[in-house]
Symmetry: C2
Subunit: 345 residues, 2 copies
C-alpha cells in the first residue's frame, strides 16, 4: 500500500465494525450473471489493504467529529485487461481538478480525505510534481549544500506553509487507488466511515470513473499475446454498475453529494448533467467540457436555473484557478444543506 497513508494503522477492525461495513441489502447469491450494483461487491473482491484504510478514515473522522469533512475523489480509474496487469484501459485525468479543489476546501476550513489515483497530482505538491520543469531545476548547489534557487523561494515558501499547516493540524488524509475495483470498494467503505458526520460530510466526486470494465472472471491470467502478421483483438467490456443511487440512499444518508459530468460534445453536456441529477436524486452536478474545463463549469441543481461559473479573460490571464470560484459556491450550498438538515431534525 502506498505510504501516502499517514502512520500505519495500529488497530484492526473488530468483528462488529467489520459487519457494519457490509451492505446487508446485497444478496449473497446474485440472481443473474449480469454484474450490477446489487452483486458487484460479491463478485469483485476488496483490495487487501482496505481494512487499514478504513481504520485511517475512522480515526480521521473521529478527530474531526465536529468539523466539516469533504471526500474529494480525483484522477482516473483503470480497468485491467489482464490479471497480472500489463495492459489496462485508463481515463484521461491528471487530477488537476481534484488536487486544486482540495486546496481551496482546506482554505475554507474543511478537513479533506483525498481519494486519488496513485501518482496523480496531489494538493500543494502539484505545483512542482508534474510541472514541465524537473524538480531538480528548482535546486542549486552553494558551498557544498543543496539550496532552493532564490527565484523560487517566495512561492515555494507560501506553498510549503500551507502544506505544513494542513499536515500539522491533521487536515488532509491521502488515500490512493489505481483500479476501478479498488475505487468502488474504497468509496463504499469511506462513505460508511463518514456516516457519523451526517450532513457535515460532503462528497465531491471529481474522479474520472471508468464506464466499462472487464469482470474478474473474464480477465485472462497472463499478458495477451500478439502474433506476427496480425490477429485482431476483440474486447468485450461490461458497463460499470452505477453506484451513485446507493451512495445517496444507503451508504451516505444525510451527506451532500456532488458529482461531475465531463463531456467533449458541448451539445449534450447540459442534458447529460440534468439526466444524472434526475437519475440519482443528489444535490449538484458540475458539468464541464474537456476543452474548456479550466475556464468554465456549469452547476446543475434541482429546482434552480443552471449556473455558469466562468473565469474572466483577466482572471484567466492572471492564472487564477477556477476552483477558487467553484469551492466558495459549493461551500455556500453545503452550508444551506446543513441548515436544512438541522431544521428537519
Amino acid at each position: 500500500m502506498d505510504s501516502h497513508i499517514k502512520s500505519p494503522p495500529t488497530r484492526r477492525l473488530s468483528t462488529g465494525e467489520r459487519e457494519n461495513a457490509i451492505d446487508r441489502t446485497i444478496p449473497l447469491f446474485p440472481p443473474a450473471i449480469e454484474i450490477d450494483e446489487h452483486n458487484y461487491f460479491d463478485n469483485n473482491e476488496p483490495p487487501e489493504y482496505l481494512e487499514d484504510m478504513i481504520c485511517c478514515a475512522q480515526e480521521f473522522v473521529s478527530f474531526h467529529e465536529n468539523n466539516r469533512v469533504v471526500l474529494v475523489t480525483s484522477g482516473g480509474t483503470t480497468v485491467p485487461l489482464e490479471n497480472q496487469t500489463v495492459r489496462f484501459i485508463d481515463n484521461f485525468s491528471a487530477g488537476t481538478r481534484g488536487a486544486t479543489s482540495a486546496e481551496y476546501f482546506l482554505e475554507n476550513g474543511y478537513a479533506v480525505i483525498f481519494l486519488h489515483r496513485q501518482f496523480s497530482l496531489l494538493p500543494y505538491s502539484r505545483h512542482y510534481s508534474h510541472s514541465t520543469n524537473c524538480f531538480l531545476d528548482f535546486m542549486e548547489e552553494n558551498d557544498g549544500k543543496v539550496l532552493v534557487d532564490p527565484k523560487y523561494q517566495q512561492e515555494m515558501l507560501s506553498v510549503l506553509r500551507k502544506y505544513q499547516t494542513a499536515k500539522d493540524n491533521n487536515l488532509l488524509l491521502l488515500l490512493p487507488f489505481t483500479t476501478i475495483n479498488q475505487y468502488l470498494h474504497t468509496l463504499r467503505a469511506l462513505s460508511v466511515a463518514l456516516q457519523p458526520l451526517k450532513s457535515r460530510a460532503l462528497f465531491y466526486l471529481a474522479a474520472a470513473v471508468s464506464d466499462f470494465f472487464v469482470p474478474l472472471h473474464r480477465i485472462p491470467e497472463h499478458k495477451i499475446q500478439s502474433k506476427a502478421g496480425g490477429n485482431k483483438l476483440v474486447m468485450n467490456l461490461d458497463p460499470v454498475p452505477k453506484f451513485l443511487n446507493r451512495l445517496v440512499d444507503k451508504w451516505a444518508p444525510g451527506a451532500m453529494i456532488i458529482s461531475f459530468k465531463l463531456e467533449t460534445d458541448s451539445s449534450i453536456l447540459l442534458s447529460k448533467a440534468k439526466q444524472a441529477l434526475e437519475r440519482y436524486s443528489h444535490q449538484l452536478v458540475i458539468g464541464n467540457l474537456l476543452q474548456t474545463r479550466k475556464r468554465e463549469v456549469v452547476f446543475v441543481e434541482p429546482d434552480a436555473p443552471v449556473l455558469w461559473i466562468r473565469l474572466t479573460p483577466e482572471q484567466e490571464a492572471a492564472g487564477v484557478d477556477i476552483e477558487s470560484l467553484i469551492i466558495p459556491a459549493v461551500v455556500e450550498r453545503h452550508s444551506a444543506w446543513i441548515r436544512e438538515s438541522d431544521n428537519s431534525v
Copy 2:
C-alpha cells in the same frame, strides 16, 4: 510540446532535410486497407511538433558526432479510443528501467536521447518525483526560507551534481511522447537523425509499446457514451505493425539495436525472446518477467548462450539497481559491435 525539450529549436528543416525524413519505400497508395508497416505512416499523421524534435535531435547528434549516443525509449505508449481523448488503453510502465538505465549510460560516457512517456520517470529526478513521499516532505522552513531537510542533503547533493553535469555538458536530451502514433513517428525520425553516427549509435528500446491499436479512421470523434442499464462495449483493435525490421534494415543501418521482451509467464519468456531475435535479426533481446524484473533479466543474442544477469540477495538488500549490472554488459557488446563495424569497412 513539452518543455522538457532543451531550448526552443531555432531553425526549421529545409525541404531537402524534410525529404530525408520520408521513407520512400513506403508506397503512397497502400495496396490493402489492412494497416501494416508499409502503409502505417501514410495512414496515421505525424504529430505537429515532429519537425521541432528532429531539429533538436540533429543539433544534439552534431554536437556529439564523435561520441557514442544511445537512444533510450521509456514508459508505455497509449492507444486513444476516442479522438478527443477521454479513454485510452495504456501499458503498465512507470519508466523505471529506462530512467535508471539512462543514468548508467551517462556514467559510462554516453550521450543520451531519452524518448519517454510524458510524466513518466526521468533520469535523476526519478529519485524524488514518484517517490511515496511528497516532494515538499524533503523541505523545511528555517528563518523564513525554504531549505532542504538536512537528513536528505547528502543524497540530494550527489543526485543534483550528476544532473547538473549532464545538463552543463549537453549530454541528455529529453523528448516526450504519449500515444503509440507519436512514438512510432518520433522513433523513425530519430533513427534517421542518428544515421551519421553509424555504429556509435545504440538503440535501447525499453518502452512498453502497445501491440494493438485503433486505426485513425475508426476512432470516434467524441466520448463513447454509456447508457443506464447497460449496453456493452465491444472494441476491435488491430495489431500494431512490427517496425523492428525496418529499424534494423532501413532506418538505422549500422547502429546496434537492443529490444526488450516483457512477459508475465516464465514458461514462454525465453522462446518469445529468441523468436524476436530471429524475426528481426538485431543484436540483443533483453528478456524480463514483470514479477522479477528488478532483480533478474536475460540476454538473448545470436550465436551465444543465454546469459542471466541477477542481483545477489546482498545486492538486492542493499538496493543496488540491476541496471548498474546491465549497462556495463551492454556497453561491452556495443564496443565489440563498433570494432567489428570498423573492421568491416
